[in-house]
């Protein structure tokens, strides 16, 4: 069940970028935050981490979950986010993005096929649209752009992704935009089986009674600008503690995979998640494997990590 993940660490204070591979005992994702990144948080409590699970970007229903992770008031915070940014991170070969330090001037960050580049952000006039300026300066506009307008983080200049808390952290780090584009791909071991599972899952949603509840594979309509509750994501920005109850572990295992559990999809969720993982990786995955991984990471979390220290 081990997984090798690639992590891009950007130190904004000295503009140093470093890529490294991290071997995870289980799926990666949150496990990375709890183990491999602990020294980083001890070094810089303002570090902001974005992480993905193994199925993010694969096309399966709900496979969009990108986790923003940071320390706030000594507490470890996780904010789940949908959108295409996590998927494009993975297409460019990056599973986790870590932002350290703080630059002297505002910066635009672009990741083209996994290669990061930092540019000084030009000064803005009062009526400037950050997003339009970023797109004009992109080497390859075929990607996803996150921009911060001061109140929230927007994707592609339109879709509101994250709450004011994340926007504030963007501003603290003087990140004006974060763009990623990629021509890479995620290989799927048994693509025919994976496709059939996806079609069946989307088909179960597409029944008439589910017409009003889109499965959020990259679906952002509920988070579009001027719609919905501006603080809707705030409720998730709390330390999450999962017990050993089956339902909580199922939810935890799904989120470790990068899947969002949806009521409109077949229940229970673990069997079809195992089916997806089997066809995606080309080797058999069982429900027990996922529950075991969820328990492992749950135990790590229950030790109560504070300031990057789990003692």
């Amino acid at each position: 069940m081990s997984r090798t993940t690639r992590c891009l660490v950007i130190d904004l204070s000295d503009r140093h970028l470093a890529q490294r591979e991290i071997q995870c005992e289980h799926f990666g994702g949150w496990e990375i935050h709890l183990q491999a990144l602990r020294p980083l948080w001890q070094q810089d409590p303002t570090a902001l981490a974005l992480s993905t699970g193994p199925l993010v970007g694969s096309g399966a229903p709900g496979s969009v979950t990108l986790y923003w992770c940071f320390l706030a008031g000594g507490e470890w915070m996780i904010v789940p986010m949908s959108g295409r940014f996590g998927a494009y991170l993975r297409y460019s070969g990056i599973d986790h993005l870590i932002l350290l330090g703080r630059p002297r001037h505002a910066v635009d960050i672009s990741l083209l096929d996994g290669v990061g580049k930092l540019k000084l952000a030009p000064p803005l006039k009062t009526d400037d649209d950050i997003f339009q300026r970023v797109v004009q300066n992109l080497d390859d506009p075929n990607g996803v752009v996150l921009s911060c307008n001061g109140e929230c983080v927007m994707e592609d200049g339109y879709f509101k992704l994250a709450n004011p808390e994340i926007a504030r952290r963007f501003q603290e780090k003087r990140i004006r935009s974060l763009a990623t584009s990629s021509h890479g791909k995620l290989p799927i071991a048994d693509s025919d089986a994976f496709l059939q599972t996806c079609i069946a899952l989307y088909g179960s949603y597409r029944s008439p009674q589910n017409n009003l509840f889109p499965v959020p594979y990259l679906t952002l309509c509920g988070e579009a600008r001027n719609e919905g509750d501006a603080n809707a994501m705030c409720a998730d920005a709390k330390p999450i503690c999962y017990g050993k109850e089956r339902a909580a572990l199922e939810l935890f295992a799904m989120s470790l995979l990068g899947l969002r559990k949806e009521d409109c999809l077949p229940q229970p969720p673990i069997p079809w998640a195992a089916e997806l993982m089997t066809s995606y990786t080309g080797r058999p995955w069982h429900e027990e494997d996922m529950i075991k991984a969820a328990c492992h990471v749950g135990e790590l979390m229950e030790r109560g990590m504070r300031h990057g220290d789990n003692d």
């Binding site: 694969s58 592609d156 021509h183 791909k185 290989p187 996806c198």
Partner: protein
């Protein structure tokens, strides 16, 4: 895929209702899984341009034109239009990747496939497009043109009626 109507062959077409499309991009990913056995939206045969939000976003895919300009533009004559299935077909084994088809296509629908080292275009998955099967909002449809037009006219008429009544559509 087609049927005779008064002696005229009517073919199903792939169409999108932009008012429903939410720009999720699942069509791109699923198309690439079907044709490239990997999630690779940059080489998908149906592509979403999402910048600017729902009012400006569009989905580009081959329209299988009656008189395809890509076929005229192809320097090797590797693109044919077959009347009976109604498909524009790229013979990729002859393609030398000059890109003339993509440049000339009004939608830029042909896409470079790095595995085949050739430009390819939508083949409608042999008559059962996977993008239609997974579209979460049912914005993509594959049907006969008159049915699609009728549904669209009904929707537009209903919207107009409700606007006249000063009521919002549910």
């Amino acid at each position: 895929m087609e049927r005779a109507k008064g002696g005229i062959i009517v073919k199903k077409i792939l169409a999108i209702d932009r008012s429903i499309c939410n720009g999720c991009g699942i069509c791109e990913v699923i198309c690439s899984i079907k044709h490239k056995h990997a999630a690779c939206p940059s080489e998908s045969r149906i592509r979403l341009q999402r910048f600017g939000g729902p009012l400006q976003q569009y989905v580009a895919y081959c329209q299988h034109c009656e008189e395809p300009i890509c076929a005229t533009a192809c320097l090797k004559g590797a693109i044919d239009k077959y009347a009976v299935p109604g498909l524009v077909v790229h013979h990729y084994e002859q393609c030398f990747s000059c890109g003339a088809c993509e440049v000339m296509c009004p939608l830029g629908a042909p896409v470079y496939d790095s595995d085949l080292d050739a430009y390819v275009t939508c083949d409608l998955c042999g008559g059962d497009p996977v993008c239609v099967q997974v579209c979460p909002t049912k914005a993509l449809v594959y049907d006969f043109p008159e049915r699609i037009n009728a549904a669209f006219r009904c929707q537009q008429g209903a919207d107009y009626f409700y606007r006249l009544q000063g009521r919002e559509m549910l």
